[in-house]
């Protein structure tokens, strides 16, 4: 076995040293009922690198690769170009095979990287402090709701109807076990987000109001009135962002008064990967809320010789010390994804991120204009960044998407997939466009969509 260095001679010598006659002697505490007489049956035996590679490649070949076709999916996961050097760096063994930096003297690489990451995220979000990352955007969203409850000592959360439905589902799943009450709604099919309804749902019991920006339909709205309304009732504004590249073009949530900003960081450095691992981002605008934050935090300090160094800090919030009183049960962050994010962000810099955002928006505008010319297609949004909603008048978008996949175009995400069974939403299709999309791809989408609409009854 290529991964196991002990030889049979080693094993025999070691058993002698231990004073055991055989390896079975070391498993004597396993009760007879659970003792097996050999390898578990009905399972294959070990295989060569070549054989395993063959097996895995066969499985991979059954998938339609996003990069091989015109591709327009978003809804919380975006396909961006990741510079080649990102993957080279995250594959360095010193990053790849390190553990959580519990011994800071020999983990300064990870720690300094996390400090840089926290700074980048905080600035992108317009916040004071970001943590060292959480699992993904959806779990970060729940953690924000739970944190708001700790800060306000209230347990009711008001969710915008235009919050990603999977995020809302995660929050509802967690809330049903924790005694929190969640108010949610469906998105309204309007060119701009409906804010007045949301604002009217905020009351004196509300811990937080949760808004997505840009929202699930790709719409963008000024969050200042919601922040003011929330603060007037003593509630916090939680803003969810699923596309960090957007913040290269539009105002940050922190600038508009968001108290907690969370999001998905996958767009930068991480790739699609069929949904995971992704990167949960979490930041707070007011530094005095830091001690209520979940997850790891890296802080600057000095060593015994006075040199600057970094450590994990404020760990008394965490499970390994507070046990049942911890702010969260989370142990890990999404370290390697955070590294990928930070390397990509470093390569972009201020200038690159803004140029990248501008290019995404330019292509999205081009696509919106082009699709608006397709008979039976109407663009819903007034404002958008790189994703917008089109209405396929009279046609169920979910079927059109499947039909277009058969025609070799991955056309977008139907709201029918995200909100199954909701008749009012079934004609809506979310279309995302990034710098990886070409104008030719957009022409192909327009042409195939026109054909599909004509042929689908």
């Amino acid at each position: 076995m290529r991964y196991l260095p002990l030889t049979d001679t080693d094993r025999a010598d070691m058993l002698t040293k231990i004073g055991a006659a055989s390896i079975d002697d070391l498993f004597v505490d396993v009760p007879a009922i659970a003792q097996l007489d050999g390898p578990i049956r009905d399972l294959p035996l070990h295989a060569s690198e070549m054989a395993v590679e063959r097996h895995m490649k066969k499985l991979a070949a059954k998938n339609l690769v996003a990069g091989d076709v015109p591709f327009f999916l978003g809804a919380g996961a975006y396909r961006h170009h990741v510079p080649a050097s990102v993957d080279t760096i995250i594959q360095r063994g010193e990053f790849l095979t390190a553990y959580t930096p519990y011994q800071p003297e020999i983990a300064q690489g990870t720690l300094q990287m996390l400090f840089e990451f926290q700074t980048q995220v905080a600035r992108l979000y317009g916040c004071a402090v970001a943590n060292a990352s959480l699992y993904d955007g959806s779990t970060a969203c729940w953690e924000a709701v739970a944190m708001a409850a700790r800060v306000t000592k209230r347990t009711r959360a008001v969710l915008s109807g235009a919050l990603h439905p999977h995020y809302a589902e995660v929050v509802k799943t967690m809330a049903q076990f924790t005694g929190y009450t969640i108010g949610d709604a469906l998105p309204s099919i309007t060119p701009d987000p409906e804010l007045s309804g949301l604002i009217s749902r905020i009351d004196e019991e509300t811990a937080c109001v949760v808004v997505q920006y840009p929202d699930i339909l790709g719409r963008i709205s000024d969050l200042t009135p919601i922040a003011e309304a929330a603060h007037a009732k003593g509630a916090l504004l939680v803003v969810v962002n699923t596309e960090p590249v957007a913040l290269g073009a539009i105002k940050s949530p922190g600038e508009m008064g968001a108290d907690i900003v969370v999001g998905e960081g996958q767009s930068l450095g991480v790739g699609l990967q069929f949904g995971g691992p992704y990167l949960g981002l979490f930041a707070v605008r007011d530094p005095k809320h830091v001690r209520q934050m979940p997850g790891r935090l890296c802080g600057e300090t000095t060593d015994a010789e006075g040199k600057r160094g970094f450590v994990l800090t404020l760990s008394t919030r965490e499970q390994h010390i507070r046990r049942e009183k911890a702010t969260s049960n989370i142990c890990t962050n999404s370290g390697l994804c955070a590294l990928a994010f930070t390397v990509h962000m470093t390569l972009l810099g201020e200038r690159g991120l803004r140029e990248l955002a501008a290019e995404n928006h330019r292509l999205a505008c081009f696509a919106a204009d082009r699709l608006a010319k397709v008979p039976g297609v109407r663009v819903l949004n007034n404002g958008f960044f790189n994703e917008f909603t089109v209405m396929l008048d009279g046609k169920p978008a979910r079927e059109i998407v499947r039909d277009l996949a058969d025609r070799g175009v991955l056309a977008g995400v139907s709201l029918g997939r995200l909100y199954p069974g909701v008749a009012a939403l079934e004609q809506a299709l979310l279309v995302a466009v990034t710098e990886t999309t070409t104008e030719e791809d957009i022409e192909r989408l327009a042409a195939e969509l026109a054909a599909s609409l004509k042929e689908t009854v």
């Binding site: 080693d10 498993f27 396993v30 009760p31 659970a34 998938n63 095979t97 969260s328 390569l347 690159g352």
Partner: protein
């Protein structure tokens, strides 16, 4: 063992007078290959980028809802050569498994096979969107299904939830399933029992799910006190959370008896699978009466730890709890087509407690773990457990004459050996031993966990170390322990040779500085 290193270095070559820290002061602060690296924000510039993008006409109309950014973000950029150098230099200040022995107890720092990395990067896995039409991702769904099937067979459990994102998330998944099962039969139980030696996530998770946590004492031999546990069972106890093998490194030999008693009292048994590496392929937790157990793919199945994640924590379930598993899950229809059961499948979802995460789990970790499992097969995995346990026992028996091993008399350990700090001289502590090991070129063991042993040192060698590497570690560990027993003051200042000396954690926590300012 007076030549513990075969690189050509000999102990007599130590320069006693000046030591490593002597020699001239350098202008840069660098010392040859030990390179100091400034922060990104001290070297980056706002107008520099390492990515070439098309120039977009800044005057082109936008449709940003009137919210175009007017303020600078405050980011800085580097060109590609500068970026590669910055992060390469940082990487060299890290210890990783690729560099050396990493016996961090309960973390299973085994070798990460590179085939896993290669397979995860196949475009057919890496470049597919979670919401693509399911007809276009049949291979991905099949990976989830195949891995799930392996996990079920390896654990002897009928059900599996693949979406939990890490071990603690998996724990939460298991506890929520227990909660949902009790709720479904109108049984409002309030208490979860957790042994006092448990990892902090266990009580944190149970509390998070709304349970009151009560400790169960341990016996003098380091196992759950079965009598105390049985005495506490009753109609208010929802279940128990027990780690097996436990955090003292021992197999809970009465596990089956405990499980039967818990079941008889109407509760469920959660097993923390953090230490599954000790028994994988050799013992099936399902045979011991487990109802739910998470599996850390980043421990037992070698997906990389990545400096603190991402992990992956699938949960296997008994017949009783499987129906409550979270959405989504993968099924196969009569034609062999794989599909996801989600919120819309109102019948097929059954009493599932709902969704824990946006998409389908840590796909990138599934491909790696499946690659690892296929490489090892049923026979190789059994050998993994046996070698891991053999290595740990070898260390235990090679150290117990000089280092307090509180449970050495309790029988063989499993895949980790536990020691305590008894008899250290001069006020020296476990922390000093750990820092001394850093100077010897090792990542220290887990320290101060479990809490039930004073000054605990938990050593987990894993199966991917050679006997020579383990012998060398034992020699170094013994040397450092002997210094601690002798009260060697110098140990209090260790490490001397790491990129940084001991860091001021008190200062960091009193005045937190969590982002670059300026």
């Amino acid at each position: 063992m007076n030549a513990p290193n075969k690189s050509g270095w000999k102990p007599e070559m130590q320069i006693a007078e000046s030591g490593f820290l002597g020699g001239p002061v350098t202008t840069t602060g660098n010392r040859a290959l030990m390179l100091e690296e400034p922060l990104l924000f001290e070297i980056g510039r706002a107008d520099v980028t390492g990515v070439d993008l098309p120039m977009v006409d800044a005057s082109a109309p936008t449709r940003l809802g009137g919210l175009a950014r007017s303020e600078a973000i405050g980011l800085v950029g580097l060109t590609e050569p500068e970026t590669v150098r910055h992060y390469t230099r940082l990487s060299r200040q890290n210890y990783g498994i690729d560099l050396g022995f990493f016996p961090l107890g309960s973390c299973t720092m085994k070798h990460n096979p590179r085939l896993n990395e290669k397979m995860a990067r196949l475009p057919g896995f890496a470049d597919i969107h979670p919401l693509q039409p399911q007809s276009t991702v049949q291979g991905a769904l099949e990976v989830i299904s195949q891995l799930g099937e392996w996990l079920c067979k390896l654990t002897g459990m009928p059900g599996v939830a693949m979406s939990p994102k890490a071990g603690a998330h998996g724990e939460l998944c298991g506890i929520l399933a227990i909660r949902a099962a009790h709720t479904a039969r109108g049984d409002a139980r309030e208490v979860v029992l957790v042994p006092e030696s448990a990892h902090g996530t266990n009580p944190a998770t149970a509390a998070f799910a709304g349970y009151r946590v009560e400790d169960i004492p341990a016996t003098a031999e380091g196992r759950v006190d079965v009598a105390a546990l049985k005495a506490r069972l009753g109609p208010d106890v929802a279940g128990v959370m027990i780690t097996n093998p436990n955090t003292c490194g021992l197999f809970e030999k009465d596990f089956r008896e405990i499980a039967d008693a818990v079941h008889a009292a109407g509760g469920y048994v959660y097993c923390d699978g953090a230490n599954f590496n000790a028994i994988v392929g050799r013992v099936r937790p399902g045979d011991l009466g487990v109802d739910a157990m998470h599996i850390n793919l980043h421990k037992t199945f070698s997906t990389p730890h990545g400096g603190g994640g991402p992990g992956s924590g699938p949960v296997v379930f008994s017949e009783a709890l499987a129906p409550y598993a979270p959405l989504p899950f993968v099924r196969q229809d009569g034609d062999g087509v794989f599909y996801l059961v989600e919120e819309e499948h109102t019948e097929e979802r059954g009493p599932s407690f709902g969704r824990m995460t946006a998409f389908h789990g840590q796909m990138g970790m599934f491909t790696r773990a499946l690659t690892y499992i296929l490489s090892h097969g049923a026979d190789g995995l059994k050998q993994v457990a046996e070698d891991a346990v053999l290595n740990a026992n070898y260390i235990l028996r090679s150290m117990e004459d000089i280092l307090h091993a509180p449970f050495a008399a309790s029988g063989p350990c499993m895949h980790e050996a536990l020691f305590g700090d008894k008899d250290f001289g001069g006020g020296l502590s476990t922390l000093d031993v750990a820092k001394g090991l850093i100077d010897e070129g090792y990542h220290p063991m887990t320290v101060y966990f479990p809490l039930v042993v004073h000054g605990a040192m938990l050593v987990e060698p894993t199966e991917t170390e050679s006997k020579a590497a383990i012998d060398q570690f034992i020699a170094a560990f013994r040397a450092v322990v002997e210094r601690a027993l002798a009260g060697d003051e110098a140990l209090k200042q260790a490490p001397y040779f790491a990129p940084r000396r001991r860091l001021d954690e008190t200062g960091a926590a009193r005045k937190p500085k969590l982002a670059f300012e300026g």
